[in-house]
Amino acid sequence: MTHHTTWTTQAPARSTGARARTTAAGSGIRKNLGLGTLGAATAIGLWWIFTHTAGQDNPLIQAFVPERVPAALFALLERDVLLADAWASLRRLMAGMAVAAVLGIGVGILIGSSQTLDRLSSPVVQFLRMISPLSWAPVAVALFGVGDAPVFFLVAAAAVWPIVINTALGVRSIDPYHWRVGQTLGASRFEAVRTVLIPAIRAHVMTGVRVALGIAWVVLVPAEMLGVGSGLGYEILNARDRLAYDEMLVVILTIGVLGIILDLLTRILLLDRRRR
């Protein structure tokens, strides 16, 4: 999964240029796919060479050889743990994201609507978003006990900031004439929110959600090492305790694959639905 360092990404432009790009995208995608496959194959090759040369007498690296992946995968699937763990992780991700989205969009709209509130909150937001959410782990466990709740909290704490920041940016980028159009056509406050604010900030919010999802997924796995009894993070520790390093590797690979799938899904969500 790509690590996002920039949190405020420009929302996709609905310009004529963007449209011209989609027509040329067909051949571009095919070329990218070819190069991507080549890159992945190269990475597997390097991995094979590394595990077969460097790690000859290290049992952990020995267990990491690529050819042991299929057997370990089947072992995990046979015991019904992998899918159950993936599901448990995704469920927690969604719960944490839901909390982050509700809070983040709400707070982002407030911050974006008021310059005073923006100035007031800006140092706090900048400060809080620089603290790794995992720093809160002991606090979360102390407050919420052991179980799902501290994991939800940590995921939400990681995911909320990009949503806040992008939503606020979206509100600030609303064309003031769009408000005036609503106002002069007799829109009530609520009608203006529905017909101007929400559609105008949609692309920015979706960008925030996508960035948040990437961060949330990265935070979720270590958060699941805090005393929950399921999930991919838990399964890594479990495999380590059983010295089943090959299975541990499969869990790690699953995390990566699911991350890519999640990112793809949000990309599709982000697509301009207005055009085919």
Partner: protein, 239 residues
Amino acid sequence: MAAPALRVKGACRTYEAAAGPALDHVDMVLDRGEVLAVLGPSGSGKSTLLRAIAGLEPLDSGSIEFENPDERLAVVFQNAALFPWLSVRENVAIGGRYRRNRDRYSRQHVEELLSILGLVEHADSYPDELSGGQAQRAAVGRALAIRPDILLLDEPFSALDPALRTILQSWLRDLIDRLQLTAVIVTHDVDEAIALGDRIGFFAGPKGFTRQWTTTHGSPARKDILAHYASRDSEAVSV
């Protein structure tokens, strides 16, 4: 003559941190069925006056009275300001989504307007696919879809190139005649004022109008207006 559709009395407005007032006791009257062109140099306060009439700008003192207490206004700005997430048809129909316009709005009227505006084949297009002239016509359509009693236009064509501007001016004048609209059009372009106004008021500055011409019996001499521009009698008159 019946009661005026709109009467502005002693309108005053000073912007925060401004050296002087933008509007200083401005009076104006608009009769039902007439088009008043508010002509004046840039920065004279025309847009401020229009925004005040539209309810977008509070007045420090003075009043704006409408013939009908439930008067409906619609505004066309210099830029079309169409919602980019809506198709042209949806943009024209947007007023119908507001409770206030329920009694005046109909889908059928939107379709009629699209055809009057020559936008039928672009009805399902999005604003970024329109030319500047098409976008501005759509903005006029959006305003007319709520059947306003008074249409307010602020330099509606000044962002367009001159040839297109001339075409759209005569198009708008035809539309005004056909739909018998009451309108205020703000412009700094003498030819636009002549092309569109039944009456032209010269808006010189904060004090308001200094001269007016009626164009119903043949258009006023362009020379006359230009001469006034040059001389700038500062005596305020009632328009």
